[in-house]
């Protein structure tokens, strides 16, 4: 089941590449759309069928891959991954729809997109560390090309920057990963990459993996790898560039999924597997005890302030992502139920909301061919539906209760407050600033007198609405009844080494 979901896009890539002629652009788009629906169906099925009360992984598939290093093809999902898989699968068809207007080399675009989807779904399903890393890296290549070929004017710079940053992070992660592998056994006792096994070993007193010093270093290695992806200050500067230059659908994927890969990794590896390392950086004591929370705080405030300074619509949204990922971090740092639940929920919700935001930016960019916030004005009267949806998305993003963004943020902060009082209070500044930049943007773009240049601007069309509505519904539904999501991963959270 999982393998099917992972590799169908890959198969689809081959179909698109080899079975469709270059001229048949419409066909290619339709085929891709249908292909991306399959993982979505599977993901929905998994979401429904997943046994919420059982802890641990389900739908596992496990077989030997590379015997020499005891590398296995081991996939499985728990509640945490299933939500993210669902998000990925959902954004798949939406992004294909959002890419409908691309006119240059659509076949290659779609093929790369499908490859990307395989990487992302695979990453969330992988239970073997090696496999995990392979999928992690697998997303790099298509992303590079997707930004680099189909991006904006500074696409080359943005693409290589993204690539270099991520690779930088992942090589450190590679070292940590190898070290963990080597420590997991000896020449006599088989070593392993199996994540569940490693988690158990790391808890076993006296085992080499449980050594705090080792865990701290390993933690750092993994952390930097994921931090670049999240991105955590000061590794974040690739993000505004990449987001701004990427085509709309790719920004959606970047913000919606790729950033989550970082935080997912933090939960899966740093949190679950390296509790001692985590403890060192999050226990609130000693020189390093506040590190993670401080980073979260910086992300929140710094990202928000930067967002406020932007005049490029897309860049603003990009920086807002940095801010919002800060809530995830600070929630993780809290290491308690509400913090962690909040963090995970925020991951999912931010995926949905930021996807909406980027889609919305794309809509207006398609019409006005620029994104300068000050260059609009008064669009509210010409594009009421668009304005309405944007307002919804903005409100969700600035954490309006009743919409999904709030629950994650609030839980993260509630959880964090019990550990890091001052930092959490300072972080709430992000809530105010968040409101400030969104409202200011709303004002500059939609309110006020209509900019005469846009007298003839057209309202959002059906296809675009179709990409936004599912996300909007999710935003509202999860805002009202977040338990739908929380039920999924409550057991998964309870298995993590929580500290009350």
């Amino acid at each position: 089941m999982l393998s099917l979901m992972i590799f169908i896009p890959l198969l689809g890539m081959l179909v698109v590449l080899f079975a469709i002629r270059r001229e048949q652009e419409e066909l290619a788009k339709r085929v891709t759309f249908i292909i991306t629906l399959i993982p979505l169906l599977i993901a929905v099925f998994l979401f429904v069928d997943y046994d919420r009360s059982a802890p641990g992984h389900q739908y596992e598939e496990d077989m030997m891959w590379i015997e020499a290093f005891n590398i296995r093809y081991h996939v499985g999902i728990d509640g945490l991954s299933v939500t993210l898989v669902l998000l990925t699968a959902l954004l798949g068809p939406i992004c294909v729809l959002a890419s409908w207007k691309i006119d240059k080399g659509i076949k290659a675009y779609l093929a790369l997109f499908l490859l990307l989807e395989t990487g992302m779904i695979g990453f969330f399903c992988a239970l073997d560390m090696f496999l995990f890393y392979v999928f992690f890296e697998l997303t790099l290549l298509p992303m590079y090309f997707l930004i680099g070929i189909w991006g904006g004017p500074r696409r080359e710079y943005a693409a290589i920057k993204f690539f270099l940053y991520t690779l930088f992070g992942s090589v450190l992660m590679l070292i940590a990963m190898i070290a963990v592998y080597l420590k997991s056994g000896t020449d006599d006792v088989a070593r392993t990459f199996d994540i569940p096994t490693l988690i158990e070993l790391a808890k076993t007193p006296g085992h080499a993996l449980a050594d705090p010093t080792f865990q701290i270093w390993a933690f750092l290695g993994f952390f930097i790898g994921f931090a670049v992806k999240v991105p955590i200050f000061p590794f974040h500067t690739w993000l505004p560039d990449a987001h701004v230059e990427a085509p709309t659908a790719i920004s959606v994927i970047l913000a919606g999924i790729l950033l989550k890969m970082g935080t997912y990794g933090l939960v899966r590896v740093n949190f679950a597997m390296l509790p001692e390392g985590m403890d060192f950086f999050c226990n609130g004591e000693g020189r390093w005890g506040n590190s993670l929370a401080i980073l979260g705080f910086i992300n929140i405030v710094y990202g928000s302030l930067c967002a406020l300074a932007q005049t490029d619509f897309k860049k603003l949204v990009a920086y807002s992502s940095i801010g919002h990922m800060g809530f995830v971090l600070i929630g993780l740092a809290a290491r308690n139920e509400s913090g962690l639940t909040g963090a995970i929920l925020q991951m999912f919700n931010h995926g949905v909301i930021s996807a909406m935001l980027f889609l919305l930016v794309g809509v207006v960019y398609d019409r006005a061919h620029h994104r300068e916030i000050n260059g609009f004005g008064g669009l509210g009267s010409k594009m009421p539906i668009y304005t309405g949806i944007t307002t919804l998305a903005f409100m969700a993003s600035l954490g309006l209760p009743g919409l999904s963004g709030f629950v994650g943020e609030a839980l993260s902060l509630l959880g964090a407050y019990s550990k890091f009082k001052v930092l959490t209070i300072l972080s709430t500044a992000g809530i105010v600033v968040g409101a400030a930049y969104f409202l200011w943007t709303l004002q500059r773009v939609f309110l006020g007198e209509l900019n005469p240049k846009y007298e003839a601007i057209t309202e959002i069309n059906g296809r675009e609405i179709a990409t936004l509505v599912p996300l909007g519904i999710l935003t509202i539904v999860l805002g009202i009844w977040p338990s739908i999501a929380i039920d999924m991963f409550r057991e998964a959270v309870s298995l993590l080494p929580l500290v009350q």
Partner: protein, 485 residues
């Protein structure tokens, strides 16, 4: 084993010599007709040599009264070298650089250099080592300067030979000192003598250090490690592209074979007083860093790949640092993978040089629209060279780093991996030119089906070995044989 008894086990080498001579004779006879007969003869010779080698097997034997050794380690390298030579022959056939009139000698020389490399992989006597090294070197000088009417080629040959002569002279001096201390040229005996000397304290460590470092100069220049690397960018740039490919792969592989044999079975016993590991680690770190940094600003793709191959030499050396079987295995595996990806990249360079007539990055602009298959293949090779999963380069990198980290050389691993980030940057410059930029010239390029098939021969392993590389591991373990004692 006596001389006469050894001959049956020496058939592959003899085959090479015979075919070299046959090619020259054939060439004399068919001077006017041109064609690629000589090339195919060379290929046949190689195939026969490999087949006979496989038939003979790799049971551990010392041949010619201890001059050379037939073991699985040598066998491994012989096959690698043969594949590289075969590829070079095929490349040469498709290269428009070479003068068809002198192709006969060219292929004969290629077989001769292959013979030299075979011997490098199997020599166990200092004299044989020097001889085989010189055979390879002299032939390489000639091959590098093979192009008529090309100042670059002549300059390359000149620099190569000057550099090579000094290095091998230094090496010979080192050999003489070692001979003077131990009274023998057999590296096994040297090993035991050195061990004896060190254990008795009857030794002047500087003398050992100095002589081995001098010998390292000869080996280091073959594998282009810092500070013996400086010839390689110039020579790679000036030499005909097939030869560049050949030098970057086969010559390097042979150099590593020699290096490993010397250090693993010869000098290891001198380990007691001198931290070879540290020395090699420093050299390795320097090599990859220098190679990568210098590659950054290059515009000429050949030169860029030259620097990249220097840095890959550094990577490989990292495995040699450890003096453990994991490290050795990693080198062997990396070599196989490197063989495919690097040769593949050079083949693309040849094709582009033929069709576009340019060796600079600018010549690759917009390649994806002109020749998508070539561009995609090149991207695969380059990303594999960077070491990105799921390409073969990653598997190689992975095994190497696993070995390094196992020995707790974290600093080396960090340097190595940071280097791979730097490497990404310059590889991506080519990718960028191919995919992200557009050229004024948009007509699509056509390539012969043969070229494309040949390209696939390199692409497929680069992809497959990234996904499943267990067999490589098994093969490398088998190839280590008794080398580690």
């Amino acid at each position: 084993m006596t001389n006469i008894a050894s001959i049956p086990y020496f058939i592959p080498e003899i085959v090479l010599v015979v075919f070299a001579v046959v090619i020259i004779l054939y060439d004399l006879g068919s001077k006017k007709t041109g064609g690629n007969g000589a090339a195919y003869l060379g290929l046949i010779g190689l195939v026969i040599a490999v087949i006979t080698a496989l038939v003979i097997g790799s049971e551990d034997r010392s041949l010619f009264l201890g001059m050379v050794r037939l073991d699985s380690f040598a066998m491994f390298f012989k096959i690698i070298i043969s594949v590289a030579t075969a590829a070079t022959i095929l490349f040469s056939v498709r290269s428009s650089e070479l003068d068809p009139e002198t192709k006969g000698e060219y292929y004969a020389l290629l077989l001769a250099v292959t013979l030299g490399m075979y011997l490098m992989a199997s020599s166990t006597h200092l004299l044989m080592i020097y001889l085989s090294l010189e055979t390879v070197s002299l032939t390489s000088y000639i091959l590098a300067g093979f192009l008529t009417h090309s100042p670059r080629s002549s300059e390359a040959a000149f620099k190569y030979i000057t550099f090579g002569a000094i290095s091998s002279g230094t090496m010979l001096f080192g050999i003489s000192l070692l001979f003077g201390m131990t009274g023998t040229g057999d590296i096994m005996l040297i090993s035991s003598k050195l061990g004896e000397m060190f254990s008795q304290g009857n030794v002047y460590p500087l003398a050992v250090l100095l002589s081995i470092t001098f010998i390292l100069a000869g080996v280091g220049y073959k594998i282009a490690s810092v500070p013996f690397h400086m010839w390689s960018p110039d020579v790679y740039e000036g030499a005909p592209i097939p030869i560049t490919a050949f030098l970057s792969v086969a010559s390097k592989a042979a150099g590593f074979a020699l290096f490993l044999r010397l250090f693993y079975s010869g000098f290891k016993s001198a380990d007691a007083s001198i931290d070879w590991s540290m020395m090699l680690a420093v050299v390795s770190a320097l090599t990859m860093t220098v190679g990568n940094l210098a590659a950054l600003p290059q515009q000429n793709v050949k030169r860029l790949l030259a620097y990249s191959s220097i840095s890959h030499g550094g990577f490989l050396l990292m495995g040699g640092v450890l003096l453990t079987s994991e490290g050795l295995q990693a080198i062997l595996i990396y070599l196989i993978i490197y063989l495919f990806m690097n040769l593949g990249a050079f083949f693309v360079v040849i094709l582009i040089a033929n069709e576009v007539g340019s060796e600079t990055i600018d010549g690759y602009r917009g390649l994806v629209s002109r020749a998508p298959l070539i561009a995609v293949s090149m991207a695969i090779f380059l990303f594999s060279l960077t070491g990105l999963p799921p390409l073969a380069g990653f598997a190689g990198k992975w095994i190497l780093f696993a070995a390094v980290i196992k020995e707790q050389l974290y600093w080396l691993a960090v340097i190595g991996l940071l280097n791979s980030v730097v490497a990404l940057y310059y590889y991506v410059r080519i990718v960028k030119a191919m995919f992200l930029e557009s050229s004024d010239d948009t007509e699509s390029l056509s390539f012969s089906p043969g070229s494309l098939v040949l390209l696939l021969i390199f692409v497929v392993p680069t992809l497959l070995l990234g996904i499943y590389w267990n067999p490589l591991y098994e093969l490398s373990r088998a190839s280590l044989g008794k080398l580690m004692g």
